[in-house]
Symmetry: C2
Subunit: 453 residues, 2 copies
């Protein structure tokens, strides 16, 4: 029996080989496509479905790509010839919510925003808020170790997951972590799974650490600066003031102009860069007032509102970045992170690379945590060689400033060739050996992350 026959035999009509779907799962939101269509997509509904799929895959040494909503930006969930796609979007139930313990147990396929809508009824929320939150799954957020806008104050996925149930490559299930906020028995395998991009197993449930919805008015501060370097220095001044904003987003001139065009807003003055900052919680108003002072002292043209609707409207400018970039051409969204104080220097490096390659690299940044998203724009579907060369310089500049290749998007296929540069060869090899402990045959998401070009 072929692999597909075995899958059909055991799993029936959740095994899908429709050509449109097989074509769709070749790509994610990075735009990168695999070399061809995979064998089949299994629409998992239960843990048993996942275990059965993995048993067949391990018995037949067939590669498996675990996939959520396919909104990744590094190609980690792209599937190619000979591979089974294990689609988790059908496993989207909330299994338990315990507001008193600030935990929820959920299946991986639930969308981030959908989960938070449900949690709001209990007066709680899950803090990770990737820009993709309306369309990305919690399982995908865990697989990439996602960040978001709020994470300088409220943490990233790593800070917000207490445990996961993991189906191994051979179909066995492990319960990693716990339901308590503290716990140090054995190795922290939960953290190892977070951000492991489908290399270690299939997450079939997660125990999430929640927060209570905070009281207090959300205040929104915007500040325009003549240059992006000034804006970065303004963000650093806010950080140094000791006030912790909930959100602190920076848009450079090219980003701001592109979004203003998209949204039909008045064109900003040439070179203008912008900070958008929100405070929340019980001291929100005082903190916003303090931030206004700091930014005025830093030379910003500052405005403040405590009207939530107006605040959301201002933040919409930042949230429209992805659409604005898409309107300019094909986009390679990068994701370097540097120590906060190195942000102005990183913007200098970006300017240098722009001049050197004669290209524009519109950049937004989560300025509270030094995570920059430079956008390389080009024509056509494939990333041209000179863009990769420019990206290569960008990565090396970030690592040179004490930073990292990827703050929140992951390595996937697009950055695997740089991973050893950051980790060093010894650590790269050791990490690969750890992957082999979970997956001795190497059937989980092969050719990604630890694949050398």
């Amino acid at each position: 029996m072929s692999v597909i026959e075995r899958l059909r035999d055991e799993l029936g009509d959740i095994v899908d080989t429709s050509p449109e779907l097989l074509e769709a799962v070749r790509a994610d939101r990075s735009g990168h496509r695999s070399t061809g269509r995979p064998l089949a997509v299994v629409h998992a509904r239960t843990v048993d479905d996942v275990q059965a799929t993995m048993r067949i895959a391990s018995q037949t040494a067939t590669a498996v790509v675990v996939r959520g909503a396919g909104t990744g930006l590094a190609g980690a969930a792209n599937a190619g010839p000979g591979e089974i796609v294990l689609s988790m979007t059908g496993m989207d139930r909330v299994l338990d919510v315990r507001p008193d313990d600030l935990i929820a147990v959920v299946e991986p396929g639930i969308l981030n925003a959908q989960l938070n809508t449900l949690l709001a009824d209990h007066g709680v929320w899950w803090a990770p808020d990737p820009a993709s939150r309306d369309i990305s799954t919690v399982g995908g957020n865990i697989a990439t170790g996602a960040g978001g806008l709020l994470c300088a104050k409220y943490g990233v996925v790593r800070d917000a997951v207490l445990g996961v149930d993991l189906v191994l490559a051979d179909g066995r299930m492990l319960r990693l972590g716990r339901r308590t906020v503290k716990g140090v028995s054995g190795l922290d395998l939960t953290s190892l799974v977070i951000g492991s991009e489908g290399q270690l197993g299939v997450v079939v449930a997660a125990t999430l650490k929640l927060r209570r919805l905070t009281e207090g008015t959300v205040c929104t501060v915007t500040a325009s600066f003549r240059t992006v370097r000034d804006a970065a220095a303004g963000a650093a001044a806010v950080a140094a003031s000791g006030v912790q904003p909930a959100i602190m987003e920076l848009m450079d001139a090219a980003s701001l102009a592109a979004v203003h065009t998209l949204l039909s807003l008045a064109t900003p003055a040439d070179g203008t860069a912008q900070l958008t900052i929100q405070t929340d919680g019980p001291a929100s108003r005082d903190e916003a007032a303090r931030i206004v002072e700091v930014l005025q002292a830093a030379g910003g043209a500052v405005a403040m509102t405590d009207d939530p609707a107006q605040g959301e409207e201002l933040l919409r400018i930042r949230r429209s970045m992805h659409a604005a970039m898409a309107s300019l051409g094909t986009t390679l969204i990068e994701d370097v992170a540097v120590p906060r104080s190195a942000m102005p220097a990183m913007f200098d490096e970006i300017a240098r690379i722009e001049r050197s390659y004669g290209i524009s690299i519109p950049t937004v940044a989560h300025a509270g945590d030094g995570n920059l998203h430079p956008n390389f724009i080009f024509d056509g579907a494939e990333v041209p060689t000179h863009i990769w060369a420019a990206a290569d310089e960008l990565f090396r500049a970030a690592i040179g400033l004490g930073g990292t290749l990827t703050g929140e998007h992951g390595i996937g296929v697009l950055k695997s060739r740089w991973l050893a540069d950051e980790l060093g060869d010894d650590q790269w090899e050791l990490q690969r050996q750890i992957v082999r402990v979970f997956d001795p045959q190497g059937i989980l998401n092969p050719g990604k992350v630890f694949a050398r070009a």
Copy 2:
């Protein structure tokens, strides 16, 4: 050449075989002792010393026990016959402090409180505050994944370390993690090292995630309750109110009475249990007022002060617990954690075990995160059989309530026989295989954590 001769030959007079020291390193603060004296103590001063020691150890297949200040409570740093002790207390420098980036790079031997005194000059602090902070090292805090009083609000060690430099069993050094607050390139090995109790390598430097010293008055609230169950319900009501205390400590009647006796304070009414709560930050006063209301509604006799000295005096009652227990006999301090809402049920279980074994188990709890420290008191140096039997029931009760064997002290030698009960056999075996990737010969802290009785 013998192992000691090789060590002396290469490292000179930092190799110490004085009988008093060899005797001292057989034990930690748990009181548990190894079966005999180790070979030697190497007082490491530099990374080179550590690498040289590990090379000799791996070439001679000699076991190595990495040791900080020896304040552990699970026997993890106790050394026995045939073993080399690698003492890290001499590597106690602060290598870098970057207040703007909220990071510091430190050697592992610095004491937690000593570090925070130095950091205060920069307006920053490192949040983990184990009760041992005056006498325990940062390296030891990392090895156990320590918690503390403040961690319900400010997190545990796992939340406060961005990277570690790790010398492997064979002497090679890996730089794990990064200096940025976000980063998802490769597997999160930093988290794997935190709480690994000397099984994976020797931490020779750590990049710590700092916080700014907060403004605002620290307010202290105390509340007395007629029973420990009422006090636990009061703590749960505070948690459910949405206010996040910095500290929320619970003392049961036996603990409170013992400390009052030690400090020559007035004897509390029979059965009285107490909550001691602190709020901090910009909304501190409002939060304390809210907590007073909640605790009064829960039936507590409540007092509040915003005088820092008076607040510290009230907290001294809680901090004197260890000394009060020591005055009663030899103590086995346990460390279970349960979901917050299960705390009243856990106190019921403790009462049941007390009745069943005819013993008293004075218990304090970090009530904000469900971490309980039941104290078993006995005569003599060795834990008697009936105390282990009672502890066994305690562990099973905690696991049965969705909890864990250890919230912040670790497994060491004292709890290794229960580890597989919590992890399950498959996960236990997989964790052991991961240890072997780091340390193929098994020379790092053998007979601990993953040793079966």
